[in-house]
């Protein structure tokens, strides 16, 4: 059985886990092609107008991969830690996928909900495994292999690789000692080379060292995010906030670029907090870069170049 994995949204966070898990269950995996203009056009046509760019991109990837697979893997990731949620769109993702105005193959929608406790979490995994095998042990082993793969992935990120590089198996690049830019934002915006208009590659091309949220230890992110007066109830926003606050307070980057997509609900609020915090503490320059399906490369380059120029003047 071939299972399709859209190269969008949580792919950038959990692909190694999903890959080992699905392989262990005996499935073949087909990942959709990297985002192109066509993906965005397909997605924008199929998705509801008001949805955010990442979800539209997700629709594009679903349509891209659906014809060559027996099933689509679209988990419902409700919560990844107790007392917090992911974005509402993830809570309704399998249901959203079904609104695409076209026939889709079977959708495999395991539910991951850490709020319900470890036992129920594992029960959900076992229930999902039944679809492939009657052997509980095989499911558990497959999941454990996935967790191991995810840990190895996490190590690579902490060593300075981006998720895309880590998945592709690239060697880390040594720092060049130029400007140090922190790029913060959701992985599906930052690392999707089409959505972010290749931001990271461009920054590196200009001689800057790029560091991202994923390269910071999760414990540090959690600790930094705790500076907010009220605990954030969105796990992924907590990482964004934690990353930015870490750099703002440690002052260990020359500037921060915050990539967010138009109409992103949580980010619209987080942006206020980050900009206010950056202003208050030592003034690490922070630039918010809002992307949507109409973003043009020229406009982005001009703005980022201006930002880099400003940082260079500051460091002189």
């Amino acid at each position: 059985m071939t299972v399709g994995v859209p190269q969008a949204l949580l792919y950038y966070k959990y692909y190694p886990l999903w890959e080992s898990f699905l392989h262990g269950l005996g499935a073949e995996i087909a990942v959709s092609n990297p985002t192109t203009k066509k993906t965005i056009n397909l997605g924008t046509a199929a998705a509801e107008n008001e949805l955010c760019l990442p979800v539209k991109v997700f629709f594009g990837h679903v349509l891209d991969v659906k014809d060559c697979v027996d099933a689509l893997f679209i988990p419902r990731v409700i919560s990844v830690e107790s007392g917090a949620y992911t974005c509402p769109k993830f809570l309704g993702l399998p249901d959203l996928a079904k609104t695409a105005d076209t026939a889709l193959p079977l959708i495999l929608e395991p539910e991951f909900n850490a709020r319900l406790g470890t036992r129920k979490f594992y029960q959900a995994i076992l229930d999902f495994g039944k679809f492939f095998t009657n052997k509980k042990s095989q499911t558990i082993r497959a999941w454990m292999d996935g967790v191991t793969a995810q840990k190895a992935f996490q190590k690579k990120l902490e060593a300075g690789l981006t998720p895309v590089e880590a998945i592709a198996g690239v060697e880390p690049q040594p720092a060049r000692g130029g400007l140090k830019i922190g790029v913060v934002g959701h992985p599906y915006n930052v690392y999707d080379s089409y959505t972010s208009l290749n931001l990271i590659k461009k920054l590196r091309g200009w001689g800057a060292d790029v560091t991202t949220t994923e390269m910071i230890l999760p414990k540090t992110l959690e600790h930094e995010a705790d500076r907010l007066p009220k605990r954030l109830f969105w796990s992924y926003e907590k990482e964004v906030v934690g990353g930015a606050l870490h750099w703002i307070h440690k002052k260990n980057v020359d500037g921060i670029i915050y990539v967010l997509s138009f109409a992103c609900g949580p980010d619209s609020l987080i942006q206020v907090l980050l900009e206010s915090e950056a202003k208050k503490h030592g003034g690490t320059p922070l630039m918010s870069l809002v992307v949507d399906e109409h973003s043009g490369e020229a406009g982005l380059i001009t703005r980022v170049e201006a930002f880099i120029d400003m940082l260079k003047w500051r460091s002189m």
Binding site: A47, P88, F233, A263, S268, Q271, S276
Partner: protein, 371 residues
Amino acid sequence: MKITFPRMGKLDMVLSDLFNRSGIDYIVPPQTSAKTLQLGLRYSPEFACLPLKITIGNFIEALEQGADTLLMAGGVGPCRFGYYAEIQRCVLEDAGYKFDMIVLEPPAAGWKLFVDTLKLLAPGKSVYQIWRLVRVSFKKARMMDELEKYTLKYRCYELHQGDSTRAYKKALAIIDAAYSEAEIDAVCEEAFAVLEGVEKDMERDVLKMGIIGEFFILLEPFINFDVEEWLGNMGVSLDRSVYVTDWISPSTKNPIMGISDEEIAQAAKPYLNHFVGGEGLPSVGHSVIYGCEGFDGILHLFPFTCMPDTIAKSILPQVSRDFDIPSISFVIDEQTGRAGTLTRLEAFLDLLNSKKTHKRTGATAEFALSK
């Protein structure tokens, strides 16, 4: 301490009653207006949903009138509403206002926190005393909601346009004047008699429409262009999916609207299998229920970039198709105009009327078109 709170429908009447009873000094912010919106927009994050912008405007107006403590509800997600208070605090402080803020977190965020906040609101009173106070105000609020529900349903039958609205205001005032539980019981019948006294033509042919969507937009007439009164005048009998009491009640039974959260989730299940925060799941569930009950149409209102109701909007076309019930969604932000909204709604009503006529005469839509 001079406390204030955001406006939302009749919430000001409920809270004023509660504060009078517990002896707290308060300021009711001015009725939400274009000025409120302008003030709110000046400081709010651009992509935030409209309710945040409006409530910031409410707070600014109240602060300028002398309020020094802001009361806001909290939340535990995943809808943005739960984090409103933090953002309001951040932008208002950055704007240079001085104030205290009391955030009433729901019991889900911890009972102790909830009780501590209550005690802050009513110093020197025991939890039991507070509960008694709240109970009376709540009872009053429920009566008010019942009046509103009746008005929404029967406005379209009135013989003289405007009678229902006048009667509704009169009935509200009657209830509002009652103070104790016994008094509320005593005036209840009188208030309803005022509404029932409106001359009606029950033979009138009316459309039945359900209103679903995000609660703030539904409950605050300034933002929804008082669409309910307008629809009533256009001959539409309305059923709304949320009332103030349903929204503030900790119970999941939804006493006013009459359908429990569980039933709603059950109805939504084939289309949306998990709650997504806010009114996302209720919006889908209610449209299924309206479809089953043979309503003529569904009106869906929500703020631009609202996460839960955007999900509902994506799903609504499926429900519409399966139950043969037309639906229309309005995405509302600060740019939305009254005229544009009502024109589109009028066209929608034409569609519902012709659909109803064709159903009755047995002619198909195709036949009608070919003529």
